[in-house]
Symmetry: none
Subunit: 302 residues, 2 copies
DNA sequence: CACCGCTTGCAACATTTGTTTCACAATTGC
DNA sequence: GCAATTGTGAAACAAATGTTGCAAGCGGTG
């Protein structure tokens, strides 16, 4: 809460208030957090004012009652990162939009907020730890079924660009997980699942865990069933304003993880990327948007 | 609130809890701020749990009632360094730590910025227009190869939850695109590719376009080769501080698109979701975190 | 099968909440 | 000085809150 929501408004019209209302306003200005955390009556008590006075203040600020005021302060505390003004602006725009566009905007806003949370220090530490573990592994087994498939696939895909040590545990004819048999202590199993947890994923993780294979878990909670078996657990959220949960935060995490792992490869990574390029050039995989993609292959790899 | 007050305690004894209490504990873990800001009953509602269960959780944690718990969380919110200081501190820490964490943070920041741009007005219009087109289509063909696979797959997956009109143009033995032969004017082809554009994707889009099949293109530029053939083009960025471009913005767009399309299904969507649930219940696809998932199947679908 | 302990949902409880109402006091204008 | 307006305090209200107690349900044991 960089600048408390109503601070400006209150300060401007403060002189217009009288006696008791000023006391109430002072309290709000001085204890913005308490506005959200305490009941109105309790605030009145601490401000040395009657409950009615609190209400009068709220009304003078243009609100229906005191709850809207508390909500405003509560929201400011919920996501300290984004400023109140911006939120207000977004809110404003939301109301001007149609239902579908509003929903779309809401989802974007929600996901954005969740992404911001990913850069918390502990998360970064976990990520880099996991990256190190994966980078040192002889083989990386990627496992993500159903809704978690894109995440596991993405990690495997990027890792496959820079080497051949990644194995995607997915295949037709129900043989997808068979290769986990060859995993050992020197390998790592990267497993993804979120609520409702896919039973097969848990089973495979269980199997690997019993065999002593280190597990990097990407899931939705530190108390997820995956976390129990995991050496390192990366937790993220999946909440969304829509009927379907979002896998986007997990998706970025996988991308970042992959990039970090690849980065530890140094020279081998560069060499591999060069090979990928010439390979695809030979096969004509990509449309030729220009003569030949030679320089800085890094940015061009798909 | 860097580490929420009771997080450790809850995580440690989580396995000892049972059923409903776990749900309550999950909520507390996932929404620490709401613990302080909302009434217990409201939290119970959001956690999908009886108020009594919240109380039982509090008792199991060694508290007299639930208010002490809320107080603990409230205090944690009162004191913490202001977000500004915290940001500065995080920044500081980032520089002290390895370059890997800095890179991770940079990627997150970059993607976050790109996501914010997605809620621009025109984007939203394009999205909803595309959603309407897809919703009205008899059949939706999803096409995304190589790096674009997760995006096409995700759209197809979500659409498959709520109906059977989506077809993923991907298969083994190089037969992935064969089914596009059956597409006509009443269908829609959803195609994804970004630089460097996959030749095969362009070819298939070309084929469909010539047959009069409307095309919704998700790509990285309004002048991408895809855009030329498209009825509606949704453009996004793929830039990333790392060697590998990010597919995350495209991924959210696909998720949102899917949700919007599903939303236009109304009753059929709800019915389909119920079916998905009972189907998976019969097969035991998901781990049973509780006796039986009855109410509000919507949130539980994976 | 009956029994057990344990968990879960429900309805009821006394408080506390935000709000309304109204009488009284203070202030203002004439 | 008096009337009118405004500000204040206290009591009363319905609604919502945290909490309690109990009955029904569950799975396992003898």
């Amino acid at each position: 809460m960089e600048t408390p929501p109503l601070a400006d408004v209150i300060i401007n019209s403060f002189d217009g208030y009288s006696g008791e209302v000023r006391k109430a306003a002072r309290f709000v200005l001085d204890n913005p957090r308490d506005v959200a955390l305490l009941s109105m009556r309790e605030q009145a008590r601490r401000a040395g004012v009657q409950p009615s006075t609190m209400l009068r203040l709220a009304r003078q600020l243009g609100f229906e009652g005191y709850d809207p005021v508390r909500d405003a302060y509560a929201n400011a505390m919920r996501n300290p990162a984004t400023s109140f003004e911006r939120k207000a602006r977004d809110q404003q725009r939301l109301q001007n939009l149609g239902g579908n566009q509003a929903l779309a905007a809401k989802i974007v806003a929600s996901v954005t907020r969740q992404l911001e949370a990913l850069s918390a220090a502990e998360q970064l530490v976990r990520l880099t730890d996991a990256a190190t573990l994966l980078a040192r592994a002889r083989r990386v087994y990627c496992l993500g079924l159903r809704a978690s498939h894109p995440i596991a696939w993405q990690l495997n895909y990027i890792l496959s660009l820079v080497g051949d040590k990644s194995v995607l545990l997915d295949d037709i004819a129900n043989t997808g997980s068979d290769r986990i048999r060859f995993a050992g202590k020197d390998d790592v199993l990267f497993a993804v699942t979120v609520m409702p947890y896919t039973q097969l994923t848990l089973d495979i993780v269980d199997y690997a865990h019993k065999k002593g294979v280190p597990v990097v878990a990407l899931t939705d909670s530190p108390v997820s069933p995956l976390a129990k078996r995991a050496t390192i657990t990366i937790a993220t959220t999946t909440e969304s304003p829509s009927f379907y949960h979002t896998m986007t935060p997990a998706f970025v995490l996988a991308e970042i993880l992959a990039v970090l792992v690849a980065g530890q490869g140094e020279n081998e990574t560069l060499e591999a990327l060069r090979q990928v390029d010439s390979y695809h050039a030979s096969l004509g995989t990509h449309a030729a948007t220009r003569p030949h993609p030679i320089a800085t292959p890094s940015k061009e790899v798909q």
